[in-house]
């Protein structure tokens, strides 16, 4: 896809999403779209951790819960301005990401996943135990956004704007030097080391960033729920985020975005699927892992390559030594 084609596609998507409240028909669909955008704020950050750097975090629901409670307590109990409370949720969760990541990101894959699982379980217990802060099992009611974002449509636009900004940030990271460094950490640690990527620091940086987006998502999620209890943040939700990325494909952004939309919207729109609940997620995960283990994003990539390689492929190497000499010396002159 050429650059201008891509720009047009992005503009079209933005236009469709922005006008959604007018053409979607009912407010429930607007709420659903806002929920998808909220999940995406978390998942796009988590995608850098899971999809790019290859660290299998299944405990981001814990960070979502901390962000939600932080917002509910600051904006509700203490009456702070919601904008301040949202920023505080993001910051607090970035710090939690740092505290969780510092010891656990040195663990090999499976044990890291277990550490994030333990974190999510601990958060649930803490929200139950600290009753005077969190309301315990009874929960907390959450104030809405201030005008003009207090209507369902207003909330949707606000959340859409935040999701767009977060998407832009993660896209920039994924498409440039940092994204390549993260993929190196995922696919070949020795290569990452050889070219100088500080493996642990790179993993920790994106993990802290994913904590920040999870905190933002938590605040938005709390507003959409309008009332939160520890049961709002069941562990299944953490698995759901993880599954969206795996189904979408590691190392892509479009795939996980489609995964998020499909996995959130389908059970809500198609009543029989809702009854299946987790069975539906499990089934879909099984189908994807068996048929396209690299995920939906990979299917798109292969289709694009098919289309391109129709022009015929040449193989082999034939160095141009004069040019190579210039390239080496040109590079060294700058150093």
């Amino acid at each position: 896809m050429s650059v201008s084609n891509r720009s047009w596609a992005i503009l079209a998507v933005i236009a469709v999403l922005f006008t959604l409240p007018w053409w979607s028909g009912d407010l429930y669909k607007v709420h659903l779209a806002a929920l998808i955008c909220t999940y995406w704020v978390l998942i796009s950050g988590l995608n850098l951790v899971v999809g790019y750097s290859g660290q299998l975090s299944i405990g981001h629901v814990g960070l979502l819960a901390i962000g939600a409670y932080c917002f509910a307590i600051l904006a509700g109990t203490y009456g702070l301005h919601p904008a301040v409370a949202i920023a505080a949720s993001g910051t607090l969760c970035a710090l939690c990401g740092l505290v969780l990541g510092l010891p656990s990101l040195r663990l090999p894959g499976f044990y890291f996943a277990m550490a994030t699982l333990a974190f999510a379980l601990i958060v649930t217990e803490i929200t139950l135990a600290q009753g005077n802060l969190t309301g315990g099992g009874v929960g907390l009611s959450v104030p809405g956004f201030p005008p003009p974002f207090d209507s369902p449509r207003g909330s949707y636009w606000l959340i859409l704007a935040i999701a767009a900004v977060v998407t832009w940030l993660t896209w920039n990271v994924a498409r440039h030097t940092w994204g390549r460094g993260l993929v190196a950490v995922r696919d070949s640690v020795v290569t990452a080391q050889a070219v100088g990527v500080p493996v642990f620091r790179a993993k920790l940086t994106v993990f802290v960033f994913s904590g920040f987006t999870a905190g933002l998502a938590g605040a938005l999620f709390a507003v959409l729920q309008s009332y939160i209890t520890p049961d709002t943040f069941v562990f299944d939700l953490g698995l759901f985020f993880f599954v969206c990325i795996i189904i979408g494909g590691r190392g892509h952004m479009l795939g996980p975005a489609i995964g998020t939309i499909v996995l959130t919207a389908l059970p809500e729109m198609v009543a029989p699927l809702a009854k299946l609940g987790n069975f539906f997620y499990g089934l879909l995960l099984l189908v994807v892992v068996l048929l396209v283990p690299e995920g939906i994003g990979h299917v798109f990539q292969v289709l694009i390559e098919r289309f391109r390689s129709a022009r015929g492929e040449r193989h082999g190497v034939k160095p141009d030594l004069e040019r190579l000499s210039k390239a080496i010396q040109g590079g060294r002159a700058i150093k």
Binding site: S188, V195, V206
Partner: protein, 250 residues
């Protein structure tokens, strides 16, 4: 100005892989390192690039003791390497694989990249330009946009060299670069290696393809069971009776 191992010893459990081995790579020279299987060639390369720590002895670079330096610190000082089995990033394009070599020259941090500050764009353009030139130079012009897992074996080997050169190294350590190449491709490789040396890069060529090593090297070191048995010009090493006995098997 050299990259030097002095009296390095490396043991794995009860096995002594290298015993008091010394080796010096000068800028602008091709230094061949040969020896039978299990003689410790790759172990020495891993000690020089920092993947292993020696049990005794030191590694110096340009007078600086780097025995305790990490792989990343050595990369920053100008040591690049390739691997016996090419270690590419299979899901990324050929261009991206070469550009990752420039990681240390990208000055924009995480947040500067996320917000796409001007530095991030400058980094990207400079690394892309450098990587493209190198890819044209090693003969991969036709494959720049291709995903790396679609490459043939020789293309993978040359891409690893381009990635190493994108680090703008002072020394590049090549671990069996001729493995699996056809005679014509080995000739191309020889040309690439000579150009690297003529441009001032010190090249360590670990190979058991001895004819090739004798042809392109300025100096050759021969290892046998973890010790240096002969060091000198290709002509001297070729004629050494010990080398002929343990290695060439004549």
């Amino acid at each position: 100005m050299s990259l030097t191992a002095r009296d390095v010893t490396k043991r794995f459990g009860g096995l002594t892989a290298l015993s008091r081995v010394s080796l010096e790579i000068m800028p602008g020279e091709v230094h061949g390192l040969i020896g039978p299987n299990g003689s410790g060639k790759t172990t020495l390369l891993n000690l020089l690039s920092g993947y292993y720590r020696p049990d005794a002895g030191t590694i110096h670079m340009v007078q600086q003791d780097i025995t305790g330096a990490s792989v990343q610190q050595r990369a920053r000082l100008g040591v690049a390497r390739t691997f016996q089995k090419p270690r590419l990033l299979p899901t990324l394009s050929v261009l991206d694989n070469a550009m990752i070599g420039g990681w240390l020259d990208a000055r924009a941090g995480f947040l500067a990249t996320a917000f796409m500050l001007p530095q991030a764009g400058m980094d990207e353009r400079e690394l892309r330009r450098r990587a493209e030139e190198l890819l044209h130079g090693v003969g991969l012009s036709h494959a720049i946009g291709r995903r790396a897992n679609l490459l043939e074996h020789a293309e993978q080997r040359f891409l690893e060299i381009a990635r190493g050169l994108a680090q703008r190294p002072r020394f590049i350590l090549l671990d069996e670069p001729a493995g699996g190449l056809t005679p014509a491709e080995i000739d191309y490789l020889g040309g690439v290696i000579r150009v690297m040396a003529e441009s001032g890069v010190g090249v360590l060529l670990v190979e058991h393809h001895t004819d090739f090593v004798f042809r392109v090297s300025d100096r050759v070191t021969t290892l046998d069971v973890g010790a240096v048995i002969k060091h000198g010009t290709p002509e001297q090493v070729k004629r050494d009776p010990d080398v002929i006995r343990v290695y060439l098997g004549a």
